[in-house]
Symmetry: C2
Subunit: 213 residues, 2 copies
């Protein structure tokens, strides 16, 4: 992907740049931060930064790759292994992932604008998104086969997955607007209200509100 360092000291310089950029991007927004700011925060010269990265976009892409890697590690995914979890386990995992969203808050805020400006990042992002949607769709169909969720047709499953994905991807950044730091519970509550009615009375751990009285 990028230049491979030959020594541990060098590797540390590259990581310092990434950490400095992450902190500044989160604080001021990626658009307001320049390579000079990043170099200063990293404690290196502006010129040295260009030894490690060709430009700001490459730093952003690298940070996105880090996020994807940490996310895959959390879910034990990315290696083709199908995810097999209960609905409540999925929600719990998503709640854990909220901390990740916080560490990469600038991506939650700026991702759409960044994608529009950098075709390379867009290619990475859409590929990851397609993979995740496919994984989650497979999981939803497994749930359907086991009677965990109701007998929805494939089109409805696709819409449901899409809706849940959209909420999972955006709740954090919009929650930040409410002053109080977005809480992981806020996100899971929103996902739960969407998913809950589709769970069968005995399949889901949380009781379905759809049961007739």
């Amino acid at each position: 992907m990028s230049r491979i360092p030959t020594t541990d000291g060098a590797r540390r310089t590259r990581d310092r740049v990434l950490n400095a950029a992450l902190g500044l991007f989160n604080q001021h927004g990626s658009a307001a931060v320049t390579t000079n700011h990043v170099a200063a925060r990293a404690g290196i010269s502006p010129g040295n930064l260009y030894y490690w990265f060709s430009d700001k976009d490459e730093i952003v892409r690298e940070l996105y790759a880090q996020l994807v890697a940490e996310y895959d590690e959390l879910w034990g995914t990315g290696d083709g292994t199908p995810v097999d979890l209960t609905p409540d386990e999925v929600l719990a995992r998503l709640a854990e992932g909220a901390a990740l969203s916080g560490r990469y808050a600038f991506l939650a805020r700026d991702i759409l604008g960044l994608l529009h400006a950098d075709p390379l990042l867009e290619a990475e992002y859409t590929a990851v998104r397609a993979r995740r949607i496919a994984e989650f769709t497979d999981l939803a169909r497994t749930w359907r086969a086991r009677g965990v969720i109701r007998a929805l047709d494939d089109a409805t499953v696709a819409d449901l997955v899409q809706a849940l994905w959209l909420i999972a991807e955006t709740w954090f950044a919009f929650g930040e607007l409410d002053g109080n730091r977005a809480d992981a519970e806020d996100g899971t509550r929103l996902l739960r209200v969407v998913l809950r009615p589709y769970l069968t009375p005995d399949g889901g751990i949380t009781r379905s509100t759809c049961e007739q009285p």
Copy 2:
């Protein structure tokens, strides 16, 4: 809000700036467009632009105000009149609003980053959002009182409204990623899959999937 023009010719210059900015922002993203680009596209000098707007942020705020005004006009809201529509009417109205999202596509993409950079815009945005959420919550409670939706407690209604709002606010920008221009029907399908199970069998126009067999 801004300078008030004294002649129609002048007003037309100001509007040309706004239209030029809107076109460029939509095409390249607001971050990549400078006041010089906007002035050139508007057919005026860079200096003249500063006679009408103090900076780029003010142009963005004005465009956002335009969007809010057009949106309020579409819904007949903003003047305190409570919205009273059926679920299918709401979805139809949202589908009409998709054209608006397209005309102001840059806001759909960049809004979170812009809010982070401009406290004035953030104040406007959060005020509008709070008002819209309140209006929609009132409507949902009206539906509940009429038996259009099930007898949910207030907390669940709040979560449901929040989830629907999040999807309505974000589906367009993410749909753009799929190459095929985002279709209004895509958005309503997502909203429908969330709302449908909460509709009572006879209250909602679309049959609920939650009915027990």
